[in-house]
Symmetry: C2
Subunit: 230 residues, 2 copies
Amino acid sequence: MSGDVKDRRAGEPRGRDARSQETREKLLAGALRTLVEQGITKASARTVAAAAGVNQALVFYHFGSVDELLAEACRYGAEQRVARHRERLAAVGSLTELLAFGRELHEEERAAGHVAFLGQLLAGAQAHPRLAPATVAGLDLWIAEIEQVLVRVLAGTPFAEFTDPAGLARAVGASFVGLELYEGVDPAGAEAAFTALEQLGALMAAVEELNPVARKAVAYTLRRQSARTR
Amino acid sequence: MSGDVKDRRAGEPRGRDARSQETREKLLAGALRTLVEQGITKASARTVAAAAGVNQALVFYHFGSVDELLAEACRYGAEQRVARHRERLAAVGSLTELLAFGRELHEEERAAGHVAFLGQLLAGAQAHPRLAPATVAGLDLWIAEIEQVLVRVLAGTPFAEFTDPAGLARAVGASFVGLELYEGVDPAGAEAAFTALEQLGALMAAVEELNPVARKAVAYTLRRQSARTR
DNA sequence: GTCTATAAGCAGATAGAC
DNA sequence: GTCTATCTGCTTATAGAC
């Protein structure tokens, strides 16, 4: 991969040709579109290339195999989406705000299908082991962001002592993917599920606002409870 | 959807022959095994028939198409698994018990992969619309059971007033599927996620055991909170 | 780098022997 | 009902012209 070609444009860090880079990105975007619109079972070199508007053989020239293209598309797509929301995530300061953000995120990502593609790859990873690490990496981008927010938001609440933000972030990420997949087959059901979760989250947020005495009682009970289950 | 076989009676079941019925069930079991072990992308007539130990053409004789076989396998598998746990679900009487049961269920179903196949079909349903209704039906079997338990378990807690069991059951079901898919690519991460959820559930269970005064404070705060978010 | 052409194999599905 | 054989089309992947 070292053929030093003179860049026609400045700012391109690689020695790659501009057109080549463009083709690569078309293929990555095409792969994502195919995953979203047709699912993993239809994500062949031909359909992806058609979605990208390029020749089928270029899949193999640029990525070596279909699986490799899908793996890179996973990283590419997740990176892109997480970056899009990073700023707003950084502004989340309370459980209530986090819930509101979750709903927004859902509405936005659902429309674009940018979470469902992770579900497709998660399913595909079973058959194509090459996909598993890439999918984990993509999901981990989300999980890392979620974890940061959770740490910040839970600090100072009675829950901080009894919850594991790392595990919780993984649960949130995986559940979100499951819910987006579910949305694909039963939109009404998924809507009801999201609303119910929002209510549940509001319950937790409410504890933040308890008066000191009640808060203490909750903390005490939690401590006793947790001693039993661990 | 009948007629390619001489039925003595009109209606759904065509093969009254013992051998025919046996072949059908072999194919259904083979389809489930294939989904679990190789995923939806490898679930072809040939691989399923091989897993079932029968001839490939019988897929089409008995089910008409591969999608139809997968759809029936979905119902068949979900029915079978839900039935297996129905008794124990009926015995769950508290949130704490429900949590313990959830963990058990996870351990057991994960080993057999009997939840992951729903994830595979959920992903496949995007491309094959024929699969969507069947997947919803399979998932609904679980959801209906979960909902019943939730209604029973939440009754008498301060949450009963502010949660929607139907929506919550859908959230639990979809999340469970997402987590089982996640388990396929990152077992350690999934384990952490389940543990964190267990802790979170324990927090809710703890509220059940609050003293009356604190309980009242929680209920009051919830009511105020819920007035704002609705 | 991108194209056309093509090899080799697997997919869904059907016809017809038994 | 079950089998073999086969048609058709789509799949991954490569060779070689441009």
